[in-house]
Amino acid sequence: MTLELRSINKRFGDRDVLRNLDLSVADGECVALLGPSGCGKSTALRLIAGLDDPDQGSISINGENVVAIPAERRRVGMVFQSYALFPHLNVRKNLELGLRIRGSRAAERDERISNILEVLQLQNQAEQLPSQLSGGQRQRVALARALLRDPLVYLLDEPMSNLDAQLREELRPELKRLMIGGSQPVVYVTHDQQEAMALADRIALMRNGRIEQIGTPQELYHRPETVVVAQFIGRPQMNLLKPQNGVMVGIRPEDIRLDQQGVSCRLLSREWHGASQMLLVESERGPLRIVCAGDQTISEQIQVNWERSDEHQFDLDSGRRLSD
């Protein structure tokens, strides 16, 4: 385990931002901190970087406690949501600044920078200012800067949230190729569950300063420990049926199928997505979202069914999963 957070507490004023946070990230592993805004995920990242100090708890990198080490000597490569490129310096000087400060020689500097510009296809932008670059190019400069840091840990704070959907999909493999799966642990903060599922080895779903559940994307999808996790992971959202006897039953829209012998429902609305379509129906157990094949013909009255084994059962009061 090369990155380890132990019982981290952090308050801002009278608000607990992180409560007793534990997290370990192994060499080459990518852990996504996933959650709604205000859940503490960005704060956790800033604590690891050393830009804020925890009130309690320890952070260690390669077994060494780094809490007392200032940010400038912590050797983390961070990509900011805003990219945080220096606006008065062109791309080359943006990349050069850190190397210069850390005392690398001119010849070595030039070589590393021309290498990284080539890898990220930024050769033609080297003399341009950040304001002259497109969003995707700025993002790649920010990646290049983090790579040049020779970091012990990579920290990515919503690195793609300022890009449009198509560019995001194009950049994901790029990100995987350059940072994820190397020898360093990677912590990836995002509020986009799809991005977390696509990139992370494990997802830590956070809420109110705590980790609600941590596990592989498959674990979170197939065995959500709480209703919150069940609702956050998977699109469209999991259906929650009307509670019975203190038990709430959840069923994923994609686990429901059309079945003549099933529960009858009335169609409320229908979204067609091409390969699939999403139906919203009213049933005796409440409204249901259903995903089915795009070419299926749908009438006003349909019958649906699902396997009992696909049901997720939660305690109504605590919201915790009931063992099955």
């Binding site: 940010a71 400038e72 961070m78 900011f80 945080a84 220096f86 606006p87 008065h88 400060i101």
Partner: protein
């Protein structure tokens, strides 16, 4: 613009080509540039020009440094910052005449607190308002006290346009906060520094009220500014033609000084951040 700035300027230019004083019965009579020839050989004009430049450059220089320190301090997060911010602006909000009277009292010999203090330490009397080599420093002090907050306000506004993430990114690159000041803060603040320099230099070159009240240009003309000299020509010597010439001459010198400054900045590459 043309009406409130251009017209008076043209009127001055026209007036500077005429004799218009008690000798002409206060009727403008064209005198073919005699005013300008007189200006070139008028020692008092050139001495005043130097004194004005000295006052402007020294006080604006000190103000800039102090204002930078204050702005950096006020940009940090600490308890009571809001109240201090408001308090800092107080001297600037005070009418110049009132605060100049205040300073005149503070430096009064023998009753002012400075002389009292010096006397009790056995160092007095200092006669700071009647020592030709020192009194100009008192005018600088009063000006610094009054207008530093103004520059601090402009610089603070500039500081707040710099996103926190930039400092974070800079630290993660291995830079210390002292290095950040030079590599991030100053370059990004340059437009604001130049703006306040321009404002303040133009203002300092026209200084009148502060000096009129505090020293009246004395002792022995050692604090007299160009504006004061122009005023004396018009209101005491009733020589309106020459007063206009002095005014315009000062204006030309100020433009030349600003042009020179801009040239130096452009050549040194400092002005580049303005263009992005």
């Amino acid at each position: 613009m043309a009406l409130i700035f251009g017209w008076p300027l043209l009127r001055y230019a026209w007036l500077s080509g005429h004799a218009d004083s008690v000798l002409t019965g206060l009727v403008p009579v064209a005198n073919g540039g005699a005013n300008w020839l007189r200006l070139l050989s008028d020692q008092r004009f050139w001495v005043d020009a130097l004194q004005t430049a000295r006052f402007g450059v020294v006080s604006v220089g000190i103000e800039l440094i102090l204002a930078m320190a204050i702005a950096l301090l006020l940009d940090q997060r600490w308890r009571g910052r809001g109240a201090v911010r408001a308090l800092t602006l107080m001297p600037w909000a005070l009418p110049t005449t009132m605060m100049a009277l205040g300073w005149r009292w503070i430096f009064n010999t023998p009753y002012g607190p400075i002389e009292q203090l010096a006397g009790s330490l056995g160092a007095g009397p200092l006669n700071l308002l009647s020592a030709p080599s020192l009194t100009w420093l008192v005018t600088v002090l009063a000006d610094v006290w009054k207008t530093t907050p103004f520059i601090a306000l402009i610089l603070l506004a500039g500081l707040q346009t710099i996103p926190d993430d930039l400092y974070g990114a800079f630290r993660l690159e291995g830079g210390t906060s002292v290095q950040a000041l030079r590599r991030i803060t100053l370059p990004l603040l340059t437009p604001y520094i130049l703006l306040s320099l321009l404002f303040r230099l133009a203002q300092a070159f026209g200084v009148f009220d502060l000096i009129q009240v505090l020293t009246g240009g004395g002792p022995a003309g050692s604090t007299e500014s160009l504006a004061l000299y122009a005023y004396l020509n018009a209101m005491r010597f009733l020589d309106f033609g020459y007063s206009a010439t002095v005014m315009l001459g000062g204006f030309v010198l100020l433009m030349a000084l600003i042009g020179l400054g801009a040239l130096i900045l452009r050549l040194s590459g400092l002005i580049r951040p303005l263009q992005t």
